[in-house]
């Protein structure tokens, strides 16, 4: 029998995988991928809570999260392409512009 806790633990595991990715990767493209993992983990949690408590608000919230992820990708990838054209690298360390 699969309970709500199963889904929440799965969501937590996926979220921590995403956090490890955000902390570990230095490539900006990989950072974007890890952000997608974070958003998806939260989506699973919302959908599970929405089913087990009989309330559809969770699904609506994951719907909005998907919309936000879509616009984040459009803007973020545009900025990334712009940065790559200017500096020739997408390494996170190249963004230290305020270094004295």
């Amino acid at each position: 029998m699969i309970t709500l806790t199963h889904y929440l633990v799965l969501s937590g595991i996926l979220f921590s995988i995403g956090i490890v990715g955000v902390l570990r990767r230095k490539n900006l493209l990989m950072l974007f991928f890890s952000t997608e993992i974070l958003l998806n983990a939260v989506n699973i949690g919302f959908a599970a809570v929405s089913k087990y408590y009989g309330d559809l608000s969770g699904q609506i919230f994951s719907f909005f999260i998907i919309a936000i992820a879509a616009s984040e990708v459009a803007v973020g990838l545009g900025l990334l392409v712009l940065w790559y054209k200017r500096s020739g690298t997408i390494d996170l360390d190249s963004l230290q512009m305020m270094k004295g």
């Binding site: 699969i2 230095k26 890890s34 608000s57 879509a70 616009s71 459009a74 392409v81």
Partner: protein, 180 residues
């Protein structure tokens, strides 16, 4: 029974795919693994009776977002392995472990408190997609319209950021190349 089998199968697949995304050295491999993981996640939504969300997950995430990533990766050199100099490994792993434990506590807290009540209980005998339509266009109408405006702004900014100069049409560029 089948629910349990499906749950464990999909969890193993999704966790494996996302581990490949996080630990792979090649950007192309990790993008493909991410697309696969997105499709497997939609399996969870179908298991959770969230049919509409599962379909949206496949269409928007795998169809639109991963396609945008694939187009964006044409600008970068993705055939080479990603080179990263990682310092402070111990600090990173300690921080990730700590934050993972905190996240699990945050997630488990409402389950054991038992004080959650359905704010808008779903009506029996109404399908999932119909119910989503009912709620989305009554209680969440303003956020829905705001999301539409946000998507429009994101689309315009995406075009403006990546565009070549608008006054130079492609035929002009070809003519200029021919004159050289």
């Amino acid at each position: 029974m089948f629910e349990a089998i499906a749950f464990y199968m999909f969890s193993i697949l999704v966790i494996g795919m996302f581990l490949i995304v996080v630990f792979s050295k090649n950007a192309l491999y990790s993008m493909s693994a991410l697309a696969g993981g997105m499709i497997f996640i939609s399996g969870f939504f179908f298991l959770l009776d969230a049919d509409f969300l599962g379909v949206v997950q496949i269409i928007v995430y795998t169809g639109a977002i991963m396609a945008v990533y694939a187009f964006g990766m044409m600008f970068f050199d993705t055939t080479r392995d990603v080179k990263e100099n990682i310092r402070f490994k111990k600090i990173i792993y300690t921080l990730s472990t700590l934050s993972a434990i905190f996240v699990i506590f945050i997630l488990l807290a409402p389950v054991y408190s038992g004080k959650i009540e359905a704010l808008y209980p779903s009506i029996q005998g109404v399908g999932n997609i119909q119910m989503i339509g009912l709620i989305l266009f009554t209680k969440y109408l303003v956020p829905f319209e705001l999301a539409a405006i946000m998507l429009l702004a994101a689309m315009i900014s995406g075009i403006v950021l990546v565009k070549i100069k608008m006054e130079e049409t492609p035929t002009d560029i070809e003519v200029a190349k021919g004159e050289k």
